[in-house]
């Protein structure tokens, strides 16, 4: 009994020390290896592009089982920053590159419409660009100001500063007019959609590919927000989905981008609701 007590402490302590040393050496061993595995790349950025990139990556993995592609969100500007700094191998953007970003290599994989959405029970069916701009600048505060019947206040929902969707919306709809600071800011497409589907008096904008029954896409000057109308030019709210790389893409990154713009890749994106036709 007595011996057991003395022994117990020592072995336990030794075991703990040994375990710790083992952990540390595993750590340094791993640190010794050269970075991440060669067959892996990180694709990061726009939460609008992310779901489609996920699908592409899954299909890509079927063809190249050895490869490993990590798709992450973060937002368009984050993706471009990440590609610039090398944090990500490919950045995803749902807006055009700005002047400062022109030095980056980019490839458009598809176009996506931008839908103006409201609650499904909202009687409003169509708005003009000017009306949307009035709402978002905070000048039109009630539904009746834009032809609606309700006297309720409009709850404007926008995306955060840096979002590609917001930036595309600003360029296409607002021009030089600023979005009201009173607007509710949500940090992802999903959050915007959830909020609009809950709040009868809210209005927001969303990637057309993500619109489903829980929200209603408004017509623009009476033109429905559909793929066809974007292709034939009657619905003007759309932006490119870009893959961005710092310098010419190589190896796996190049293969993945080539896959995305291959016939198979375009077909996948098209089925998912994007405009990926040549």
């Amino acid at each position: 009994m007595v011996e057991a007590v003395g022994l117990g402490i020592n072995t336990r302590k030794r075991a703990a020390i040994a375990f710790y040393i083992a952990l540390l050496s595993i750590g340094s061993l791993l640190a010794g290896c050269q970075g991440r595995e060669r067959n892996g790349i990180v694709v990061a950025g726009s939460t609008s592009v992310q779901p489609y990139a996920e699908v592409l990556a899954e299909e890509f993995a079927v063809m190249y089982p050895e490869s490993s592609i990590d798709v992450q969100g973060g937002g368009s500007s984050a993706g471009i920053t990440a590609a610039t700094s090398g944090t990500a191998d490919i950045g995803m953007s749902s807006r055009e590159l700005s002047e400062k970003e022109q030095h980056l290599w980019s490839k458009e994989i598809a176009k996506d419409g931008l839908a103006i959405i409201v609650h499904p029970d909202n009687p409003l069916r169509s708005l003009s660009l000017e009306q949307i701009s009035l709402i978002y600048s905070g000048q039109a505060t009630k539904w009746s100001d834009v032809g609606g019947s309700s006297e309720s206040k409009i709850h404007i929902v926008t995306r955060e500063e840096g979002s590609g969707t917001r930036s595309a919306f600003s360029d296409l709809v607002m021009g030089d007019v600023e979005i009201s600071p009173r607007a509710i800011v949500q940090d992802s497409n999903g959050a915007v959609k959830q909020l609009i589907s809950d709040d009868l008096n809210s209005i927001g904008f969303l990637s057309l590919g993500l619109v489903d029954d829980s929200v209603k896409a408004l017509m623009l000057n009476g033109v429905k927000a559909t793929k066809e109308n974007i292709i034939n030019g009657s619905y003007g709210l759309f932006r490119p989905f870009l893959f961005v790389v710092n310098g010419e893409p190589t190896d796996l990154a190049l293969e993945f981008i080539d896959f995305a713009v291959s016939e198979q890749g375009r077909e996948i994106l098209s089925t998912e609701g994007l405009i990926a036709e040549e």
Binding site: S77, A78, I184, V185
Partner: protein
């Protein structure tokens, strides 16, 4: 070299590394954030009301107001309930119930803040929207969620400070003919004051620092709020929402936001130490 010298050196090196790490993060934040204060001007940042980093406006005054208001709201809701609850646990609670209560509060302290935020989004936000009006995402919703989140901190620390009081305090008060409540109110609570204050300060610290839960329920608008039903943005959510995008001045502006938070926490902490020393 004997073991004593070696161990002292090892401890010294460990301490030095830790302190360097702490200095590194403090220094890093200040080095990243301070240049913007000089470039744009201190007043334009701290008292500026327009936040549009892409256009070079970095006013975080609405966020400071947001942080203060939400925290104040959380304190108003959480402190009375929390302190009452700690009185209950020490003075009124039947033993059978306290065996259920304490572990539950411990568990509540460990629940990820995102779960609170989500719960608030599911129940509190629609409740406010349907009954009080507005978009629901609001200062009030944030205050309520934070008020709940700081309960475990407040309850457990004030409970300890009430429990640690010498038994003679209560016995003496009762022997003077006070009722139970009079004994609590005029003897026990004042005696436990410094502990309860510490609990409140810690709770405030937690409320100011919370990010993910409030991103979900505050609405994050960058304007000064006009009522408690308006969406607002706090300092932490400002960093949380835009952190991923930030480059250049925008990034520095987020670090500047961090500096303001840092200073607020320092002030709170100094206040807490002052209270503790007065005890």
């Amino acid at each position: 070299m004997n073991k004593d010298t070696i161990s002292k050196m090892v401890f010294f090196i460990l301490a030095l590394s830790s302190i360097s790490a702490l200095a590194l993060i403090t220094g890093f934040i200040f080095i990243q954030g301070l240049p913007l204060f000089f470039k744009v001007g201190f007043a334009n940042i701290v008292f500026g009301t327009k936040w549009a980093p892409s256009q070079g406006s970095f006013g975080i005054f609405p966020m400071i107001v947001g942080s203060v208001c939400v925290t104040l709201g959380a304190t108003l809701l959480g402190v009375p309930i929390g302190v009452c609850c700690s009185i209950f646990l020490v003075e009124y609670c039947p033993a059978s119930l306290s065996n259920l209560f304490r572990p539950a509060i411990q568990l509540l302290a460990g629940i990820p803040s995102v779960v609170y935020g989500f719960w608030g989004l599911l129940f509190i936000v629609p409740f406010i929207r349907n009954n009080l009006g507005g978009p629901g995402l609001s200062m009030l919703a944030g205050s309520m969620i934070l008020g709940i989140m700081i309960l475990p901190t407040i309850i457990s620390i004030s409970e300890v400070s009430l429990k640690d009081l010498p038994r003679q305090y209560k016995e003496g008060a009762l022997a003077l003919g006070m009722t139970h409540w009079q004994a609590i109110y005029s003897v026990l609570l004042p005696a436990a004051r410094s502990g309860i204050t510490a609990a409140i300060v810690l709770g405030i610290g937690r409320a100011i620092g919370e990010t993910m839960a409030v991103i979900m329920v505050l609405g994050n608008a960058v304007a000064l709020p006009e009522s408690i039903l308006d969406p607002i943005r706090t300092l932490t959510t400002n960093i949380g929402i835009e952190m991923g995008y930030a480059t250049g001045d925008h990034q520095q502006a987020l670090f500047a936001t961090g500096i303001v938070l840092f200073v607020i926490i320092m002030i709170l902490n100094s206040f807490a130490q002052y209270i503790a020393r007065r005890k």
